[in-house]
Amino acid sequence: MSRFDAIVIGAGINGLAAAATLARAGKSVCVLEQAAAPGGMATLRLDDGPELAPLLWNLSPVVLKAFNIDPATLGLGAPLPAVALDPGGAHIVLRGGWATSLSGETHADGPAFQRLHGQLVTYGALLRRLAEAPPPGGGTLLSQPGLAQLLRLSRLGLDLKRMGKPEMRRFLQVLLSNAYDLILDEMPDGPLAGLLAADAVRGNATGPRSPGSVFTLIYRMGHGGEVRRPEGGMPNLIRRLDEALQKTGCTIRTGTPVARIILEDDRVTGVETKGGEIIEAPRVLSSLGPKSVLGLTGAEAFDIEAARRIRHLRTRGTVAKVNLRLTAPRVPGLPDDLSAARLVYAPSADYVEAAFTPSKYGSLSEAPVIEATCVAAPDGRPWLSANVQYAPADLDGGWDDAACDRLRQITLDTLARALPDLPGAVEELQVIPPTRIAAETGAAGGHWHHAELALDQIFALRPGNGMGRYAMGPRGLYLCGASTHPGGDVMGLAGRNAAAAVLEGWV
């Protein structure tokens, strides 16, 4: 039997970040991971395919600091260009918010796109202030955490003011509105608008016309809006984090699923692993969503209202992973320098909304939104790793083989509209539906953010009213995963914030 100051369940990026933050504060921490290796959803691989999440949008420098890692040494690579695929072949290349044709001429809507992109990046930086700390509400106004929160909020207010009145007003106007209108107010509908609309809804069960999609679009832009592919891929990044964490003396045990969280007199005393081992600690932080935690404690540990909120948390995943094994080292139809680019098939904002519509009723999008990127493989035959949206977790009739086959075909057909030579260069397709993601990682609904990033499920309301400060139910029990503020996306802030909140109340 072993004893720690805290146990962290799950070694995804948030679990690792939580552990690192605690360990850096001198606490003894044990991380328990059910899978054979850390990394969680980011590094999930099936049948020798590529990792589930090959791209980095939002890795937080604040989190890296907790690991004591200098971002410069991490090999995060250069920002990747994006290609807005056009069914007519007039693909648009985006580099740092600047739009050109394949041959390099500035796109007609380039300036408008750049303006909007810049605006969103500014907004993103603003919201990042909120993302980098637990939501307010801890302690009284006069306590130390209370004052720190007040200071943080005043700084945010100051930043807002500094934008100038018109920009501040514009920000407060669009923040809660829908991406579709925001985008189309600035540019005509087309692949550029489609790309932004697709980025706005990526991973969520929402369409660009739904209010709240501007928020999720800004979320993507929280760290500058650049996309990178870490050298050696996501597993390499996770390995670095893992190593850094080990240096702090933190214990990481993989292949150790937790069977239950042990409670005594309404407080946490430790966990019991599926192997029957008891590990003691007065605090348990779970990267799993609240519903899974409730499964580990029993519903009786929670108030009825809390259980009700947990039950109603919306966690419907809508993205399936389709990995296409290519026969040649590059994507046919694109120049060499774009072979590593982020490819987005979303020819218009209307297209994205239309793709969303059937998913509401549990059907596959016949014309889905696809984001794809090439992931090198040792034998020179790379994987084109594609996120296909919308492919709802609660598909009518379930995710049987026929449904997976159907998705394979839809994916190929859709990509072929912009890249007609692609199907001939594909030798194998893996389909990982949201249900499989859920089963492998424990993320409810296979949702990228473990819980829908909707306006009523963000900030202090994430994952539910009364749970926004990471503590839930019995004393010593905390959430630290993507289902908490600010959310997922290989960012690590949820874990780091959770640990910060735990440290605030440390006795």
């Binding site: 409670l263 519903a299 009825i304 259980a307």
Partner: protein, 392 residues
């Protein structure tokens, strides 16, 4: 198109409405959970004295009744209510309250342990969706028996004798116990009057014959059908609370702070903080030390009922209000229940004043009456607890 009354509107008859209608001379009915219920059948005075002197029969079928069954029933109910229900043995009935997450009382009621994993909850407020929420995550099934199980309250000194005359020998039945003397009939020694009494439970369809049978048995023992006004006097004498009158069930409040904790209602002893987690426990732990108010039983000078009166301290500062007030014909006291502010009311509890509003001959006046907190209920006769009970 002409306008006729919509037959679907309004109140519906309960299981023994025909009998009550035959009895009713006062034609005074009220709405009890949508059923036509008697306020008074002929006169409050005689109905009350029948209850305290002979026996009374009151239809309590409109109560909400829920069955909770399954291997998870105990855990589920224990998480929901404030007392430790594991201590209620099979065949026993327990009074309990349940709270929301803020520790405010949702409702109170009685829990019948019909079997190891078989419970019946009787309460005033509709509770199906709450029970449904409470059962999530537990292996327990909730069944609404509100409209399938009927109940009568047979109360008063001759109630035991009447049961005996009706062929129901229950001499050994202790207070808060129940028995099933016949198939389809459950008799519990419970009530809302503080007197010797029983509650009889049966299928809705079996209610009428059962009523007639009791009625016949009571013919020579002064049995009288009564309405709620008589019960209301008796329950105040016994110090019982009525939801919606003496406390506002928190689910029926628009202003959430008007909810009350069990401590504030004087039910601290019904809260078992040591039994493990239950709904609202965390909030109650924090709220226990500093109740915002307290429900007091008051003995008020004079004889004018104090319902609606405001309570003042000796410096004329407003401290609270009376929720129920009545002249107790048995205790010969003017009794009331009142919410008073804490801790102010504790400073000089003996010096409280009630401002009573009276309407006499077309004129409203107020009068100040001294109000003294009572430790015990105004009326708690030993006959209520004697086992075996006396025959009169």
């Amino acid at each position: 198109m002409s306008i006729f009354a919509d037959p679907k509107l309004g109140l519906v008859p309960g299981p023994v409405h025909d009998r009550l209608a035959e009895q009713s001379r006062a034609m005074a009915w009220y709405d009890w959970a949508g059923y036509i219920a008697p306020s008074v059948l002929d006169s409050v005075e005689f109905e009350y004295f029948a209850l305290r002197n002979q026996a009374s029969l009151f239809d309590i079928s409109p109560m909400h009744k829920y069955r909770v069954t399954g291997p998870g029933a105990v855990a589920m109910l224990n998480r929901m209510v404030t007392r430790d229900i594991r201590k209620i043995a099979v065949g026993r009935v327990g009074y309990t309250l349940w709270c929301d997450e803020a520790g405010h009382v949702i409702d109170d009621g009685t829990l019948f342990r019909l079997g190891e994993d078989d419970w019946r909850l009787c309460c005033q407020e509709p509770m199906l969706s709450w029970l449904d929420d409470a059962a999530w995550g537990f292996d327990a099934t909730i069944t609404d028996e509100s409209h399938t199980v009927a109940g009568f309250s047979l109360q008063g000194p001759t109630s035991f004798a009447i049961l005996e005359a009706a062929g129901l020998a229950l001499a050994d039945l202790k207070p808060f116990a129940f028995a099933t003397p016949e198939d389809g009939l459950l008799v519990s020694r419970t009530g809302f009057t503080g007197d010797l009494g029983y509650e009889l439970w049966c299928d809705w369809d079996a209610a009428l014959p059962l009523w007639d049978r009791i009625w016949k048995a009571g013919a020579h023992r002064g049995l009288r059908a009564i309405g709620y006004e008589a019960v209301d006097i008796a329950r105040l004498e016994a110090g019982f609370l009525t939801a919606g009158v003496d406390f506002q069930p928190v689910h029926a409040t628009e202003r959430l702070h008007r909810g009350r904790t069990p401590f504030e209602l004087g039910f601290g002893r019904m809260v078992d903080l040591g039994k493990g987690h239950f709904n609202g426990r965390r909030a109650l732990l924090a709220a226990r030390a500093a109740p915002r108010s307290r429900l007091l039983r008051l003995d008020i000078e004079g004889f004018k009922p104090a319902r609606g009166a405001l309570i003042y301290d000796r410096f004329n500062r407003e401290l609270g209000h009376v929720t129920s007030g009545v002249w107790s014909p048995t205790a010969k006291r003017n009794i009331a229940l009142a919410h008073v502010k804490m801790p102010q009311a504790e400073a000089h509890p003996a010096r409280l004043w009630a401002e009573i509003y009276t309407h006499e001959e077309g004129r409203w006046t107020t009068r100040m009456a001294r109000a003294t907190p009572m430790k015990a209920p105004a009326f708690a006769p030993a006959r209520a607890r004697a086992t075996p009970p006396a025959r009169f």
